[in-house]
């Protein structure tokens, strides 16, 4: 893969977007959306992280393998958190073995 040099303009645009999203996440925290609080906060965080990954870290122009590596890591986090929560979220559902 040949080298791709990102433009300064794009870096500054992303910087601006990240600052705006930071202010947004603080602002939004003052409101109570009930169960949606977490979703909103995490959505903003994911948006910020995506900008860093795609532009600052250059994944947008990286090889398919690099993209696969990033997706793989996220998938493994899903496995780890998801399967562990199947325990915590279902404690008490089916009673105790042997009783």
């Amino acid at each position: 893969m040949s080298l791709h040099v990102e433009s300064k303009r794009n870096f500054f645009l992303v910087f601006g977007a990240l600052m705006v999203l930071t202010m947004l996440t603080v602002y939004v925290a003052y409101f109570d959306f009930g169960a949606w609080n977490n979703v909103v906060a995490m959505a903003i965080a994911v948006a910020k992280a995506s900008l860093v990954v795609l532009i600052f870290m250059g994944v947008r122009h990286s090889s398919p393998l690099t993209k696969l590596v990033v997706i793989g890591a996220l998938l493994w986090m899903v496995f780890m958190v998801g399967l562990t929560l199947t325990d915590y979220e279902t404690r008490g559902f089916l009673g105790v073995l042997g009783k």
């Binding site: 399967l83 325990d87 915590y88 008490g92 105790v96 042997g98």
Partner: protein, 551 residues
Amino acid sequence: MSSTTAESAIAPPKVHYLNAEHGLKSWLLTKDHKRIAILYLISVSIFFLVGGLFAGLIRLELLTPQGDLVSGDTYNRLFTLHGVIMIFFFLIPAIPAVLGNFLVPIMIGAKDLAFPKLNLGSWYVYNIAGLLGIYAMIKGGVDTGWTFYAPFSTTYSNSYVVPTALAGFVAGFSSIMTGLNFIVTIHRMRAPGMTWFRMPLMLWSSYATSLIILLGTPVLAITLLLLILERTLHIGIFDPKLGGDPVLFQHLFWFYSHPAVYIMILPAMGVISELIAAFSRKRVFGYKFVAFASLAIAVLGFLVWGHHMFTSGQSVYAATVFSVLTMLVAIPSAIKVFNWTATLHRGAISYDTPMLYALGFLGLFTIGGLTGVMLGTLGIDIHVHDTYFVVAHFHYIMVGGTILGYLGGLHYWWPKMTGRLYNRFWSQVSAITIFVGFNLTFFPQFILGFQGMPRRYWSYPPEFQVLNVLSTAGATVLGVGLLLPLFYFAASLGKKGRVAGPNPWGAIGLEWTTTSPPPTYNFEETPVVTHEAYAYEELHPEPTQKEPYLA
């Protein structure tokens, strides 16, 4: 060609990786993956001996029903240290860091791994971890079991938990450094013509193992770090008084430690593929199935960890999910066993020492694997969890599988690595002694476990004594069998040794196209690969000498 011309044609290469440079510094600062493999061979062998000594003491204590050889507290330390050393300092590193390091670049057609300095660094990190572990041992050891369960490890144990946990933490870095190196090498440094599906299956196994190492080991690292933080800084993540859940420790611990068992077996499976192909002189049946099965084991292996926690208090729903997933993970392993067996069918089989190990693996791994399925069955596990049934199961895999794979690989590639041949008779005696001793040691333990003998206990009801005595007798035989190679391997290197040609077994693989031992940069010119991995039907390679043994 006559044997005399063949013999006289075999002279060791003048300059090869072992004599290219001299002096301790040239070894301790080497960047040559082959020298690093030898360095690892020495280190892991030392730890294997230490771990074996602890095993010997355990079996000695268990000759009698009463706890009479050592105190109960000491016994706890013996089995903990046996486990910690064998798992973290032998089984996890051995095949990747010894055989993998030596072979991966050569099998791929490269001059070295992607990051040679990182490779050397991994050996130093391994030894630092080892020193930490030895320090903890000398100060009195640790008594928590290699599983370090909270809250005993975090709060109540008075043993050297922190240095041992730190040793494990540091050893994890060494493992990650090796795995990372393998993945980059396999992706980015394959020789021209070496497509993914022309790679020897040893490389597929090494790759799958490395994936597990990268994805799992860091979770062990954070778990051990949290354990250390709780013991030292009162950051009590697992402290029930603060709402902490000791079962969370188990989730985090087993998220790594279950895939870890696949780190331990996959490389051995890679070796077995090589041995069975070479000594049946046939391509591996279902090559693609075996390759994909390696990846499937790596992925599915991450989804089953709760089967270690069936009796720990996790929800029954989660236990059921984990039990079903455990059934799935058995499938790719079974696919491999069927494919290896099919490879043997109508092959031109020779019973050379490496093949004896491969055949032993097939039987013992099958038993270990099937008993694993039994353990994964929720209802059965409630009965046999924490008994000797579990101990027998994992020793069938770890010793009957991994160690036989490691020894088979050592015996196969010894001539390549050292340029020398070893004694046929003693090597075969050793293989058979190990097989007999192993079964005598561990088969009785299935029965003991099923009858209810708990593991990690220093005393037991008298009715279990006969089987325990048989087990200890077996351990003695096994110990003898495992010590024999020290002698004949050493003899192979001595003055009366016999030189190996480039291809004593008449096998197919890039490693057999180089001299024995290979030159430092592996290949004079970058090889171009034009055929698939085990093209015995096309190529009909001849061994470079008639008798690939010392005598």
